[in-house]
Symmetry: C2
């Protein structure tokens, strides 16, 4: 018997067929999520059909979705980047079509699950995963179990308040971790400071700045870019310190493109982490690790859910 | 068979013998924790002996301690109000003496457990408990299980940072929930403002102010006292909003003396809570409740652990 893992993003739909063990797919395929007037769910069902093994059965299908979902009912509450998916019964649409057990999860939650089972967190029982990208998402493993909450919306770490009255978050509220420490938050800070008249090598491209440009400028010593990472790292460390007190994980795994900034982000994060915990006990058994699964994390996270 | 529950505080040691079911002890006794040069652990063992039933066996002894403990090893890391208890093997001392299974827990964790099983949280599977007193402690139930962390120091909600650079906490760090929203935090704010020259009916007793006096002054319309509760309530609401995003509990139970201030604390808390969550989904299934077990919570929490 085999497993099908699906990674549903706003740009691409990816599906892969996996054997009973290991991370080597026997078949995989990606297609754009949107094309013409075709509904994404129709494209998804066709994608699954196209990878379905001719010579074997499927024990379970699991899909990770960029947006909040209810794993118990298989409903996608709201996938902002997928056309028409609001209170959308994704789980039952797939299971009805293929007559196969289907599980649904939030992509960041599943990325945490994948890193715990097959990535940087192997051997740990209590793990916090943070993906720091254009937004910030989280996955939490407690005592070898994924935390999802009774309706599936727990572990939304990106929206905890780290700076009351601080910068505006994509969600419309102020001072969330995502508003400060995500790629968007880092870029917005630089843009704002340039608009305020602060000098920077980035001033010429102010409108189109992303965290990637800020990283490059910081690596060349630009003071504003360095300040942006210092601030992002400090608040990230503060948030992680809070999560240590709450969960006492033995590992924090950091994924997402912004972690490629390396020490620019990690040094202020580590400093704030040490300052933030009220007793060093929390750091005694703690490992901080960079995610290992790279761009396979979406599929491997879904695979972990399918096999669990 | 019966159970012995023990509540270990800096002032009193309490022990009670309970039957298989119900919350009515068949015997109970309290003594001062410290007296003369006698070690608190010797007093505790004598207390347990004095309530031990003559006509029945004890299935389990459980003790709640005011301080961080490791429930897996029965070691009290550090009980700041109990003389000599640092890395103290309380669990094995009791179990060795009485040849009976013994369990140890942090008092706030156990209070949450007790409220979940026998108090305001009955019927809920996901609960956050906060005790707001001179300090702030927490208890967390996820999917009917108490969160303690791999070494027992999870759920230290009082020390999450709600106000970076804010007032000094008892632990020596700044801006923790306890520094702002505990009774001590409320009194310290009023004292500080009076020292800064702010007018208040409390100015005459500035040195000896506690949250109780601030409550009374606020009830009489004192502007500074009202501001103190407004601030404490707002940051409490912000912290609870964060806990909702992280855990998605269906109930938040608030205990401790400061909750007696009622709406003075609850109104700004509720307001900040509504403003703090990034989607109202988190409030849809949420109940906010005042703790029900009163001053029995310590014993009932330990009893719940003993029976679990």
């Amino acid at each position: 018997m085999k497993y099908i893992a699906i990674d549903i993003g706003g740009t691409q739909l990816r599906a892969a067929v996996y054997p009973e063990e290991g991370l080597e797919p026997v078949n995989s395929r990606s297609i754009p999520t949107h094309q013409g007037n075709e509904k994404p769910e129709i494209r998804l069902l066709e994608l699954i059909e196209s990878v379905w093994p001719k010579d074997d059965g499927i024990r379970c299908i699991a899909a990770g979705v960029a947006g909040p979902v209810d794993p118990r009912t298989g409903i996608v509450y709201n996938a902002p980047n997928i056309c028409g998916w609001t209170d959308f019964p994704l789980g039952s649409i797939i299971s009805h079509k293929f007559k196969t057990e289907t599980r649904i999860g939030n992509d960041a939650n599943l990325a945490g699950l994948g890193e715990w089972k097959y990535g940087a967190g192997v051997g740990h029982h209590d793990l916090i995963y943070l993906t720091i990208s254009t937004g910030i998402g989280g996955g939490i493993i407690i005592d070898d179990k994924m935390l999802v909450g009774p309706h599936g919306i727990a572990a939304e770490i990106g929206h905890i308040t780290v700076w009351p009255g601080g910068p505006m978050c994509g969600c419309g509220k102020r001072g969330h971790l995502e508003a400060v420490s995500s790629g968007t938050g880092i870029a917005n800070f630089v843009k704002q400071q340039i608009a305020n008249g602060v000098e920077s090598a980035l001033a010429d491209i102010s409108e189109t700045i992303t965290a990637r440009e800020v990283t490059r400028a910081a690596q060349h010593g630009d003071a504003l870019a360095l300040e942006a990472f210092d601030q992002a790292g400090r608040f990230l460390g503060q948030a992680i310190a809070d999560l240590l007190l709450i969960f006492e994980p033995t590992i924090v795994v950091l994924g997402g493109g912004v972690t490629k900034a390396g020490d620019l982000l990690m040094n202020p994060m580590q400093k704030a982490l040490k300052e933030g915990v009220f007793t060093p006990e929390y750091l005694k058994h703690l490992e901080i690790a960079i995610a290992k699964l790279g761009d396979q994390v979406g599929l491997v996270g879904a695979l972990t859910l399918a096999r669990s």
